[in-house]
Symmetry: C2
Subunit: 153 residues, 2 copies
């Protein structure tokens, strides 16, 4: 299960990518628009900034905005900002290395071998999908469903 942080981050970022008219977004407005607890969102946006996904400016006229184009922001980079690297087992973690405490022989550990495949499969999906892709996919689905409705009438 991905955390609420990740989901709120996706919602806020998607909102910004969808409505590119404004040049900056206030925490309060994002919180209201996407129904996210304001104080919680604060910390989330700060994390996204530290990952180079958002930029911000203080003071009047300030706020947050996307640091990169939506088609260059991957879902993986968003999720990993909150969930860490998505290692299914400790010994496959890159940013916080170390062997699994219970493992007797990492070299021949079948669990590690299989889990490496799992990790790769996950990465291949989430590191390929971008924010732009997600908005497009959502819009496509919306239209597909409204057409289905037309037929059923």
């Amino acid at each position: 299960m991905i955390s609420m942080r990740s989901k709120y981050a996706i919602k806020a970022l998607t909102y910004m990518a969808r409505t590119r008219d404004k040049e900056s977004y206030l925490i309060a407005d994002l919180a209201t628009a996407e129904n996210i607890p304001k104080k919680f969102l604060e910390a989330i946006l700060l994390t996204l900034k530290s990952q180079g996904i958002l930029t911000s400016r203080k003071g009047p006229g300030g706020g947050y905005w996307l640091a990169k184009a939506p088609n260059t922001i991957t879902l993986g980079s968003i999720i990993r900002a909150f969930e860490g690297d998505l290692a299914p087992v400790q010994c496959l973690s890159e940013n916080s290395p170390g062997s699994c405490p219970e493992c007797q022989d990492a070299a021949t550990c079948a669990t590690r071998l299989v889990m490496a495949d799992v990790q790769k499969a996950i990465s291949e999906i989430i590191d390929t999908v971008t924010l732009a892709d997600m908005i497009e996919r959502s819009e496509f689905e919306r239209q597909r469903l409204s057409k289905q409705l037309d037929f059923s009438i």
Copy 2:
């Protein structure tokens, strides 16, 4: 990250599948052999029994043993016994259904669509690999490494 429960379960089951000579295994022996806290292992074996992976008998001569052949016990069934269905988001959970609390429109939710792909990718791996496969893979790796050693001498 999969839990220690899952890892201990895999270790205990692999041990039983590897040494098929004995007709039953004592909790205490499994705990010693695989270096697992005995009391903790108790609960784990009980869960595996409730999932139909193990069978048991009390009293002298009793113990635990595999309820099925190792090539019919999937890694997925073991992991799911402890981690639940591996739904990346609430709305994709089958055994504890319900929509994600923050979701406004599940039908067009891009996160759900992508995560469904992730869930499928994970399942395709772990539901295909069996206990027998893992033992074989581990043994293969052991031999491969010892051959590599031969060359390097």
